[in-house]
């Protein structure tokens, strides 16, 4: 039965990666679920405590709000970049793609620290504005949600650009040309012919950025001044400061479930399979 053998050989190829996922990811995650339900006592105690805590609720709201704003910012900026790269800069394309990917080579920690240098009270931005006579007192650019969002958009931007770029480069220029030759204005052709074709890229970029932002830790911790407490930082706080593994784990479970819910809701409006698998 050659078909079975073929199938079997594909499974063998997947096996190493699958084994690593199961051993180093799935099993520990299940361990976290177990802790969430069993420490300090078995039951839903941790989740009840979590639901009753207004600090946890606020932290969830902050997390989703920051992730949403970051996503919108990344999409706006990323769309322009992806559009420019795929439609105009033909000879410079490799260089521009390289520039998009370049930030991946620098650690998130370093990039976040760089923002501290830029946005600080006596940072480069404030000093420049003051020396130019535009402001009298330094602006509060960081240690608040604004600073966190700026830095997160910077960190997440490549994740928005790359899927959109792949998508746009697969779109034939013939459609827009046809629309133009039939008398459509440039804007009309973009709006009604080009833009709809880029939606799969926009959606996968949005999902990628949003889901990654939900679990973000370093940037909010450094630039938030302690008051933009996202869930991941709150989890660290519970586990390191109070040794409260039960509640910390329960929060992780809640974050995981919330992320899954986001994907489910997204699936009602977007064809996830087409968005994430068939990049066209």
């Amino acid at each position: 039965m050659p078909r079975v053998t073929e199938k079997f050989s594909y499974w063998m190829l997947v096996l190493p990666a699958l084994a690593i996922m199961v051993i180093f990811y799935i099993v520990p995650v299940l361990g976290i679920w177990k802790i969430a339900f069993t420490e300090p006592v078995t039951g839903f105690g941790n989740f009840e405590k979590m639901a009753a805590s207004s600090a946890v609720q606020t932290s969830f709201i902050i997390t989703f709000r920051v992730a949403a704003v970051t996503t919108v910012g990344c999409l706006l900026l990323g769309y322009i970049v992806a559009y420019a790269i795929s439609n105009y800069a033909s000879r410079l394309t490799p260089l521009m793609v390289a520039l998009v990917i370049l930030p991946f080579w620098v650690s998130v920690l370093i990039r976040s620290f760089s923002w501290i240098v830029l946005l600080g009270r006596s940072g480069i931005v404030n000093d420049a504005l003051r020396d130019a006579g535009l402001i009298e007192a330094p602006l509060k650019l960081m240690h608040n949600e604004f600073g966190v969002v700026i830095a997160m958009i910077h960190v997440m931007l490549p994740f928005a650009v790359l899927p959109m770029l792949t998508n746009m480069r697969g779109i034939s220029g013939a459609y827009v040309q046809a629309a133009r030759s039939l008398g459509a204005s440039e804007w009309y052709a973009f709006r009604n012919v080009y833009f709809p074709q880029t939606m799969p890229g926009v959606m996968s970029g949005a999902l990628l950025v949003f889901v990654l932002s939900l679990g973000f830790y370093v940037t909010p911790a450094l630039l938030g001044g302690g008051r933009v407490l996202m869930i991941s930082e709150y989890i660290t706080y519970q586990i390191q400061e109070f040794l409260n593994w039960g509640l910390g784990s329960a929060l992780s479970v809640a974050l995981l479930v919330a992320t899954a819910l986001v994907l489910l809701v997204a699936a009602r409006f977007v064809n996830l399979r087409a968005t994430l698998l068939d990049r066209k």
Partner: protein, 377 residues
Amino acid sequence: MTETTDFEAKRDIAEIAVERYKQGRLTRRGFIAAMGALGILPALGSRATAQAKEIIVVNWGGTAKDVLQEVLCDTYTAETGIPVTVDGSGPSAGKIRAMVDSGAVVWDLCDSGAGSAIILEQQGVTQPIDYSIVDKSKVLEGTAYNNGVGNYVYSYVLATNPKMLGGNVPQTWEDVWNVKDFPGMRTFRKSVRGMLESATQARGVPLAEVYDALGTEDGIKASIAKFRELRENIIVWGSGSDSQNLFLQEEVAIGNIWSTRAHLLKDQMPEGSFDVSFQGGVIAPGIWVVPKDNPAGSDEVMKFIAHGQKPELQVEWLKKIGSGPINPEAAAMVPPELAPFNPSSPENLATQILYKDEWYAKNQVSAEELYVDALIN
């Protein structure tokens, strides 16, 4: 087992010593001594074979380990010929207990805190301090327990940048909460430890009654509410170095930080742009505890503790890493330029209260939850 001792503060002192060492302000020997003084030196691998006539002192690692070694341990060895080694592996109450329970005790003396010392005593894991050898009068009042005795102190203090404030410097915690007359950002710790006391004073509670006022749930909530009121002006520090950076980068002009970090900042900040007030501060002692059945025997360790009470050694400690002498006699020997930064000088002692471990053991977890909520919600 609840761990109420503020070990982060201890680790931070260790970090400070590292920093000083790197800046070349501590000689290598000084560095080792500072580590020793805090009880942090080598976690020697072959503990089990430690000779009877060797004392193993355990603290929280980092630089403080070397300062402890140089200041207390090496001087003791020079005097008595008995080798003393510092192990920096962090003698948490849980570890001490596990060691004693297992019957394989390798530590002789541990740098713990008041809360842990009390718990360990209740569990019968530590030995009584022999006050015929260790001098009770050579430690701050309130830091001589049955099974534990003070070794050094650090404080939560009001640090300010007079230059940024234009000379208009807050003198009390009530001033710190007065945003109208003292504008600008403040920094507080990402934990209620040493912070809630400030907020309570800002409510108008006299220093001596702070922990009474925090005795009820309403009292705690009222103090937490003060943070809610001030939060638009708060940047939170997580580690000691965070608090130092916030001042260095002029992100804040006012803050409640560790006196040991203030000790560093006074040298790093330009003249006239850093000041510290111990007014309404909270002073916290480190506590020596001796595990039961320690290998070097009770007498040897007691003699070593007594050695560490010498005021001149304690002053060295202050010079090197900013932790204050536990021995009141030492204050007179502190160089005048350092005196304002000494948490245990008579002037500074008079304006502070002693950190109350018992309160934290009972209330910390619920208070932390309220604190986070007040800051973000």
